[in-house]
Symmetry: C2
Subunit: 182 residues, 2 copies
């Protein structure tokens, strides 16, 4: 049995971290660059699409919508918005004239960097050992969450797996190093 006081302390800190991170998103991004995708929305809508394209450039809207678990209409909406911001480009496929190939522009690539790269910045306060510990802990927590998801709704399993593959940069050895029981 673990001290419940320490557990509460951790929950507090986690909440505090979430809140400060949230405020940081607001404050930092407001001044820097306007009209970008907010870090907090990274895994939704426009952010999702940017991330998927940064992992594999040149996808059709159909591809995107199935991979990201969105309706084609929603996908089209986000693509339209990103296009207006010049973060992506659309060009008709030569092979199949129904499909549009969506590509990240240089500006879009920059945006992904700003969006996804904002986390790593504050990680610099951690030393070697803390980085190791944190990595390990996150792996464990992610594993637990994945379990919860698959438990609650098994139909999500493949979709979840595909989304992780779509997003997370080359982690080819996934699956063997997250042992978890509850």
């Amino acid at each position: 049995m673990v001290s419940s006081i320490e557990r509460q302390e951790l929950a507090d800190r986690l909440a505090e971290f979430g809140m400060v991170e949230h405020i940081a998103d607001d404050v930092l991004h407001r001044s820097h660059h306007d009209r970008g995708v907010e870090h907090r929305l990274m895994f939704q809508g426009q952010g999702k699409i940017l991330l998927a394209l940064s992992h594999e450039n040149g996808l059709s809207q159909k591809e995107l919508s199935t991979r990201l678990n969105l309706t084609p209409q929603s996908t089209a909406e986000f693509i339209g918005k990103l296009s207006r911001k010049h973060f992506i480009s659309k060009e008709r496929s030569e092979v199949d004239k129904r499909v549009y190939i969506v590509k990240l522009t240089d500006e879009g690539r920059e945006e992904v960097q700003k969006m996804a790269g904002s986390a790593p910045e504050f990680l610099n306060v951690l030393n070697d050992e803390e980085i190791k510990q944190f990595t390990h802990i996150l792996g464990k927590l992610t594993g637990a969450l994945r379990d919860e998801i698959e438990n609650a709704d098994p139909s999500w399993t493949k979709r979840l797996h595909q989304m992780l593959l779509t997003f997370v940069t080359n982690r080819e050895h996934y699956g063997e190093n997250h042992s978890h029981r509850r």
Copy 2:
């Protein structure tokens, strides 16, 4: 100098965790209870107000809007929505008939529990030492983020401090144990 590969690995894991957490919110909360405040929106709008009230019940809208850094109109909107969901109650102040005192209902208190209490669940996979490590790491990261915020926009300092006081459950010894340099 720390290995940049390990740093990258950590950034990856952090992104992965964020995404899985996000999906978990979707999947788990959708089935459980409808019409509640989503965990992901905990520090925004309606969630913010619920949290503030759970820390100090019976505030005026003015109080809430200044503490939470919202316009009175936005505050009123959120209060209206929460009221319609029976999470809070409004009653005219006897002392000053302009102000309305906003209070959490029992149902609202439950909602806060559901909203804020969902994090601790998955923390159960961590053992004693990991809990200690994680707590320490989060403290450091939060400190760094606070520095960044105060650096980018000093006007936020007091507001940030007040919001933390408003939200975080009784951490009276705050401020002395987060030493950070970059």
